[in-house]
Symmetry: C3
């Protein structure tokens, strides 16, 4: 079977950045099969990239995993390649992008700086290391070059950790940030449903306060559990708490975007809120 | 030759949905070759997806054809796999998405519900069956699993049929809806040129009335048959009647979008309209 | 190793155009490996396509290079296939799209019109030659059909040349156009850094005048050489002069878009401009 290289970035598909990286990989390791995990990470959003990479790994066969979200390109930030306990290789900038995925894959067994010029393109620009440094390194690993040939070993403890937006629980209220809005208008919050404990209970009403507006949603397993046009708070496919509208787009109503803070208030048990089940503003 | 899996969806490419499905397929059937027919179907537009899938099939080699536009995910709608007379396999939700393509490929010879858990991912979410149910089923079929292993047979007559926007002809006028606006600003109407009979005649003038505005176009075989900047009514590459501007974007002028109704009035023969060939508003 | 077909177009990924071309290629040459160099060229922008294709070639293995940006589809413009001195084959419309890339790859050794119907799809539409003419020709070349089987030879000197936006130097000022704005908001000008001669000097201040607004930037090797939020004039990964904001988007501030003319004034040596290094408006 062909060696697999997965590829995640914030390059978008409007420009030729992704295609040129594919070409570079094909030139170094023609037999590699490349799977694009996606290139729509918000420009320079290392935390979003880290979340998506870690969340995707359970579905991706073992291989070389190239990820590039690199606001520090051209600065002193390191380029790194990691090996994990389950046999994967990760390649990307040392800015926190790779670490959550690597830790979810058994943890970092070895980390090396990527510094050997022979495994880079001949001319290395200062603005496009995806093409000149990272894609070549991933392709060489896929072709069988050992990790330690890329550069000196690094203590895994020195790898840069990402700082994620968090959440806070106050009694029956949770403060979190909007972490992502997907194509369907589903609004992911920076809190996992598991972290809500027994606050999250199917059928329970919640008030979502964005500061500008308030919305009422019902906890449920999925959007199909509420009526068409109604708000639901549900566990999304990555395990996060997310707000959706059945057969509609929550983002079309909730004006607040990524990074905005929201407060989710759960109805007290025995529910005294003067609503009877319809989503209302 | 590698087994072929084609893949159409409304997942978009901003998020990781498509990439994760690719990864799932590669994990189950590493030798499969995946061809993305496109992932830009408007969110939850089953009819647009059905049209595009059926229209693409004449160009796609026989294989497994995965399609996911699934507003009913998590509800009781069925997951199905179909075999057609020409040897193809279709996989997707039973909501009308697959049927027109299957009927254009010789008709449905066998239909099976996808219900066997062993051919799904171990954990099946209620919101992302593309990843957890449909991609695995397509991959197993590509790997040689027989259709009837996926679940019980269904009578083909019970499959859900899509309801397309239609058109009506009144003498020299046609009422139809805007079915799609493509990247070049070409506006496809919900009527095939063949259904216009002899109304459509090269050189004939038409008035396109959107309710808000009126535009004049000329029937022609292609946009290059009118001057730069002029409107044309032509048979697009799928056979539908479409409005374009040569070397421009009709959508930049026609404010009405998908779903909007338009009335197309053909100039009476012997043409008495006070226009002399330029597109005018 | 599988024959390689690279593919560049202005088709976008919202519609099924690219996917259908992939399917056509797979039907004719199942063993071909297709690398999408990108499909986000601005609709009908032959010059942007020509720049991107030529700029990508140094990174792309030798193969068949399919490119389609084709505002003249359906008119008398020719379809051509070219062979270059370094062994590549280029396929596309004869409108200037292919020529700069071919000339950067050793020059055109042979050019043939694509006119043999047996190497096209059976039905050739007048609006989608990407699918019906160009993709089939590229696939047949990848499958081993010789270039001269596609149609009669053309004198390379008769191939259409593209007309690029240019630049003019007046002493310490350069007038150029905005050639492209990428996903990161980097603004590429229609002048190469090499063409600026010794005007471009790290640390030197420049004033960028769009007619509507003026911005101050500093010449540097990369955005990381200025402070966060500061403007920089740098050599981008294609060698062009480009304006960026470190850790930000220049396009968010510079309202002018593609095609807009800008004047770049370099600070006289011995610098008397009353600024001390911060980007200011």
């Amino acid at each position: 079977v062909a060696p697999l290289v997965s590829f995640l970035s914030d390059f978008g598909l409007e420009d030729e950045f992704v295609g040129v990286c594919h070409a570079v990989i094909a030139g170094i390791c023609p037999e590699a099969r490349i799977i694009d995990l996606g290139h729509g990470i918000e420009p320079q959003s290392v935390t979003q990239g880290a979340r998506v990479l870690a969340g995707a790994m359970p579905y991706v066969p073992v291989g070389v995993h190239l990820a590039v979200v690199d606001p520090g390109v051209g600065s002193e930030r390191r380029a790194v390649a990691l090996a994990t306990a389950d046999g994967r290789r990760f390649v990307g900038p040392d800015n926190g992008l790779l670490l959550p995925a690597a830790e979810a894959c058994g943890g970092v067994e070895a980390a090396h700086a990527i510094s050997e010029r022979r495994y880079m393109l001949r001319d290395v620009s200062r603005t496009f290391h995806g093409r000149d440094v990272f894609a070549p390194a991933a392709a060489h690993l896929a072709a069988g070059v050992p990790l330690d040939a890329l550069g000196p070993a690094l203590p895994p403890a020195q790898l840069v950790r990402p700082v994620f937006p968090g959440h806070t629980v106050f009694g029956t209220a949770v403060e979190a940030a909007i972490e992502h809005v997907d194509r369907f208008g589903n609004v992911r919050l920076s809190v996992m449903v598991d972290d809500l404990g027994d606050l999250f209970e199917p059928g329970r009403l919640v008030e979502i306060d964005t500061g500008d507006d308030r919305y009422y949603a019902r906890c449920a397993a999925t959007f199909a559990d509420v009526g068409a046009g109604e708000f639901v708070l549900f566990r999304d496919s990555a395990g996060a708490a997310a707000v959706a509208i059945n057969r509609g787009s929550a983002a079309d109503l909730i004006a607040a975007g990524t990074g905005h803070e929201v407060r989710v208030e759960f109805e007290p048990r025995g529910g005294d809120w003067p609503l009877d089940g319809d989503a209302e503003e």
